[in-house]
Amino acid sequence: MSSLPNSVRLAWRNLRVNTDPASLVVILGLPAMYLVFMGTMYVSIIPPFSIGGFEFSYASYLIGGILAFESVMAGTMGGSMLWADRRFGMFSQILSLPFTRTQYLGGVILATVAASLAGSLALVAIAIPMGSSIHVSPVGLVSVIGSLILGGIFFCSLMLFVAAKVDSNNAYNSIQIVIIFIVSFVSDAYYPINLRTPLPLRIISYLNPLTYVADGVRAGLVPSSNFFAILNPIETLVLLVETIVMFLVAYRTYANVKINMT
């Protein structure tokens, strides 16, 4: 472990520090509860529906959205890492060690992506007994992992931007809750967006990267013959562009973070 690259070492430290039981309840427990409660309650009232020629039960539809939502929750963990390190002095302490700011940022993003992937794996284990239909193909796996990585980077960058801008604990938590609420519910993570969706909400959901993360994950969990019928490659491109832009904005803001918050 001593010869690990600096960002990997920082990521490992971040995971060790931020995976206490209370944090795990938020990062993993919340999506798991959504999966269990929504999956159980709605599956009995929502009949199976077809997207791109593939017939989804609600449980099968939901798992894609929940895995995507896990990348949002992992992203909040990433923002909290920076915020807590600033608040409790570890940010300046770590920067007085042989690490650069970029390596610190790399450590936060790596930890976020790792948490997102590990959390998703745990959620899949919960979803299968609930009747979610999961097909794994090489292309599908790339799509699932790729979408979760991009989602993790986007939402981590978004939360890092907030963490870099906000000094107050209450403000940070409030903003985080609002972001989670809007991002998760104004998207197709929990229900399909169609022409009957009010136009303003439809526009927001088409701008919302979670929609594309959910579509990428969902497409990866169906038989490969249905893959491109469910996921338009342009969606992946939009997600990629949004992620790059958000990352650059976050990086620029983060680069100006003062050493001491207090």
């Binding site: 690990l4 070492r9 807590a84 570890m90 007085s96 060690l97 690490f99 050493i259």
Partner: protein
């Protein structure tokens, strides 16, 4: 260094050409956070390898900013700095590999004492077996056995400070920066940490730069001290030389009869006014309190004592305590940072009780100190 017009200038002859031999070499360092007001102005000094160097000064003197610059956390606005021979502006990573930093603000991971030490060692790339061994040693050395499995955030202030200092010794280093490391520590633990630092410097050649408000510990620990005030260096030398230079003066402690403290007549004020009339070479460096004597510093204590007795007789004031003592670092400190203006200026800063200048000019011309002894 010479003293001219109450300000010090530093002779740089030859020392900059060999900056590599110094642990720290600072030349004309200035820093401003907003581009307007300079919190550090034109500071130059060197720290020898293996030396314990104290940076003293009142709040807002620029000590912490200096430490932040020297530890590469912020880039200086102006000046040249070399740390262990490396250029601060170009070689930040190389510098950080060889230094340790105990910052003024507390900093911990949300983990137990043992885990904090382990995580820190992990960040430094120390193999698991080695960091476990060092953690055990440090927990014992810093008296943290009883709280080793408690979360760092649940510890008392003193315990947290101990952990913060202990944590820095989990890795090897050539130069250690400590920003007020003993704040909140009880006297025994303070002494234990100071002794540890001394031992590390003497036996392992560790260079230490630390800031403190506690002048006794600077006196106990430091080979040399620099006194900063308002971003400028006011004095720099060995503690003993500073005491000798500034203390061509001696401190005369006097307590007038306790009853007069409760009197409505400002008896000390009258007393000092009379003293000034007969003896100009005095400075009241500390006003009396219920428990502490007034302190008068003078180059000619025998004349002051004569004057005190004479004035006391004349004023019919009873002297309860009269003592002449050697100059302390505190006297040097007060002398070095005392405003050169009037006592009103001191008063406006809320320090009037601690430093009232009567005849500062007469006590400051007594010689110079060298930037590197």
């Amino acid at each position: 260094m010479q003293i001219a017009d109450g300000k010090e200038t530093y002779s740089k002859g030859g020392e900059d050409s060999n900056a590599q031999s110094f642990a720290i070499s600072i030349e004309n360092l200035s820093h401003s956070y907003d581009g307007k007001k300079y919190v550090i102005s034109d500071v130059s000094f060197n720290v020898n390898r293996g030396e314990i160097f104290g940076l003293l000064g009142p709040n807002g003197a620029g000590k912490t900013t200096t430490i932040k610059i020297l530890t590469t956390l912020i880039q200086p606005s102006k000046g040249n700095v070399k740390i262990l021979g490396f250029d601060l502006r170009k070689d930040g990573m190389k510098i950080r590999r060889r230094i340790g930093v105990v910052q003024q603000d507390s900093s911990f991971d949300f983990a137990t004492v043992r885990q904090n030490l382990d995580l820190y060692g992990f960040l430094w790339g120390i193999p698991k077996e080695e960091r476990t061994k060092r953690s055990i040693e440090l927990i014992k050395m810093f008296g943290l056995e009883e709280v080793a499995n408690q979360r760092a955030f649940d510890l008392s202030g003193g315990q947290q400070r101990r952990l913060q200092v202990a944590r820095e010794f989990i890795h090897d280093m050539d130069l250690l920066f400590l920003d007020e490391p003993t704040v909140g520590l009880d006297p025994l633990m303070r002494r234990r940490i100071l002794d540890l630092l001394k031992e590390k410097a003497r036996k392992e050649g560790l260079t230490i730069l630390f800031t403190t408000h506690n002048l006794e510990e600077a006196d106990y620990l430091c080979d040399r001290v620099a006194i900063m005030d308002k971003g400028r260096l006011q004095a720099l030398d060995t503690v003993e030389r500073l005491k000798r230079i500034y203390g061509g003066t001696k401190a005369i402690e006097v307590i007038l009869a306790s009853s007069v403290l409760n009197s409505e007549i400002p008896i000390y004020d009258n007393f000092f006014r009379k003293l000034r009339e007969v003896q100009v070479d005095v400075e009241v460096s500390k006003q009396p309190t219920d428990s502490e004597p007034a302190v008068i510093v003078s180059k000619h204590p025998e004349k002051v004592i004569e004057a005190i007795i004479s004035v006391a007789n004349e004023q019919r004031v009873k002297i309860e305590w009269l003592n002449v003592r050697k100059s302390t670092l505190e006297d040097v400190f007060i002398e070095a940072v005392a405003p050169s203006g009037s006592s009103e200026e001191v008063s406006s800063q809320g320090n009037a009780k601690e430093s009232t200048t009567i005849a500062k000019s007469s006590t400051q011309g007594g010689g110079g100190t060298s930037a590197n002894s």
